[in-house]
Symmetry: C2
Subunit: 334 residues, 2 copies
Amino acid sequence: MTNIKDVAKQAGVSASTVSRVLSGKNCVNRETRRKVLEAARALDYSPNVLAKGLKMGRSNTIALMVPSIENEIFPTIARGVEDTARKSGYTVILCNTYEDVAVEQAYINKLRTRWIDGFIVASMLPNSDHIRSLWEDGFPVVLLSRYYGDPVDAVIVDNVQAAYDAVNYLIRGGHKRIALALGRKELPFYADRWAGYRAALADNGLPYDERLVLHETNGTNSFYHLTKELVKSDLRPDAIFATSDPKAVVVMRALHDCGLRIPGDISVIGFDNAYISSMIEPPLSTVSQPLYEMGVAAAKRLIRRIRSREDKTPAEPPSVEVMPTDLIIRRSTR
Amino acid sequence: MTNIKDVAKQAGVSASTVSRVLSGKNCVNRETRRKVLEAARALDYSPNVLAKGLKMGRSNTIALMVPSIENEIFPTIARGVEDTARKSGYTVILCNTYEDVAVEQAYINKLRTRWIDGFIVASMLPNSDHIRSLWEDGFPVVLLSRYYGDPVDAVIVDNVQAAYDAVNYLIRGGHKRIALALGRKELPFYADRWAGYRAALADNGLPYDERLVLHETNGTNSFYHLTKELVKSDLRPDAIFATSDPKAVVVMRALHDCGLRIPGDISVIGFDNAYISSMIEPPLSTVSQPLYEMGVAAAKRLIRRIRSREDKTPAEPPSVEVMPTDLIIRRSTR
DNA sequence: GAGTGCTATGAAAACGTTTTCAAAGCGGCT
DNA sequence: AGCCGCTTTGAAAACGTTTTCATAGCACTC
């Protein structure tokens, strides 16, 4: 590996001068600059980032913490983050936490020492105090999708409104008895979608019936039996709002196995606009989150924070960015 | 940030001793060790990885290069890689290359200078000489899924055999005219699946008819029209083998829209056992690759290479690890 | 009692940068 | 001639580790 001294020797100057040229300082003679650049090219020199990072106190690296990259929404988010980071000269470290505090803790410790420049956290839980300590200790942090009102930057969607819109659409379409396939309630976005569901019912003068709310027990597949039971009861709904697309797919399978037609006998609407949702039969109506753009926004925000911290410019107060959702109507609703 | 000298002062010893204790050297007095550990704990010390990496000439970081993390198989692979790396003290950098040489090149250059310890490359193309130069230059590299016979470690499945098994199963089930929904031929695994398809036909005395081979034009959706056309021609097949599950889903949609019953009128079999495949109606028969395990195997192999390079132990010759596939029969085949 | 070997420790060099400080060179001014 | 200010450059310190080398202490052996 050639280092800065080799380049200096080749160009007949000192290491300081090479450093100055390569980091774009202007107080260097044109001719010298030319020689240095030529020498650097000739030796195929590229600076050692570890040494640079050590000296500068930063690594140009950010960490993306997700529950699991296999979950439907995170690959797209990760692409947004990574594309944006790359364009700004940052590298992304991927952390699957499985929502396990020990794993998160290990990453945080490890990453602290790495001089990781900042975190995008999409795996926050209400009681994740080890994550809270990150921004309390002054690390740049942006929360993604899961937000609990803390004084920290965040990128989210208005889940209440989005769910409201979906349910409202069903009601306007003439549906009277709308069931809800509800994910883990401790996750804020599911809680919000639940609230939006209730609000839409209330605003349209429909009763809220707890028996129409299917609570996830263990995993997405639990909705298979829950749906079957509900449909066979005397409470058969004319529509089901699923709080995520995979849930909607399971619901549709259950309905299909009960011999019900979608949307003839019952409408189904999902949430997330996962890739799968346009592929199944019938194509699923759903609420679309701008996942890629959310990743982009989070990365931009984080990088801005990191830079402003380095520049010692006065920090702006943290703020929350609410991204727009779209209601995408396909053929699973009438 | 507290550093090793602070700990040394606190413990009343020299920095060397602290370093020795913390990196587990044995030639240090019990009592001294105790004092050092106590001081380290008291000061909440953790070593600066950049400094360590600079000194040691390694970063404990590996890079995972994928075409796009959004592609069906990569999230699972990424989990396998990341879990394994974490357990061995390595951190994973995620690189979406979009199969764009410029992006790959940028990453390689960047990562070279980072003293990235090694690469897992799942985005290799036949002409990726910039990637070839990685192992030619002595970087530890493991290829994943795409392999062209180069002298380098690789983790793959036997795509010829797997496709053979799938097609053979269809033939044994009485299918006589089997179509193929074939992905980009320049990718080795698609070429191999094609070869396996031909071999199975040949071994069973069935003719190979080029008109039954649907070639992807632009994207997965191109199979929608290709399938429709084929089905309406006088060549209507009694089964379709799709070289990936998303292709199978598109094929099924086309068949459904033509009013054909699956598997009554026509059988469909896929490849990959993507999450989606068990959810759709009817659940898709498919070939399962052990994606998670492939990620694990690639990471283990890479880490072994890295370690043996550091130990200066004589390098083993590169080898190829072939993982087993399973034929998973669901309800899309009769 | 001197030599030997072993353990435990510290000082200092090294890893490859960036940046501070000092100084050299030079033109222009009094 | 002396001084000032500007541009350009190099020497050296610093970032936080690990590791080499040297040495001190101590128990044995002859």
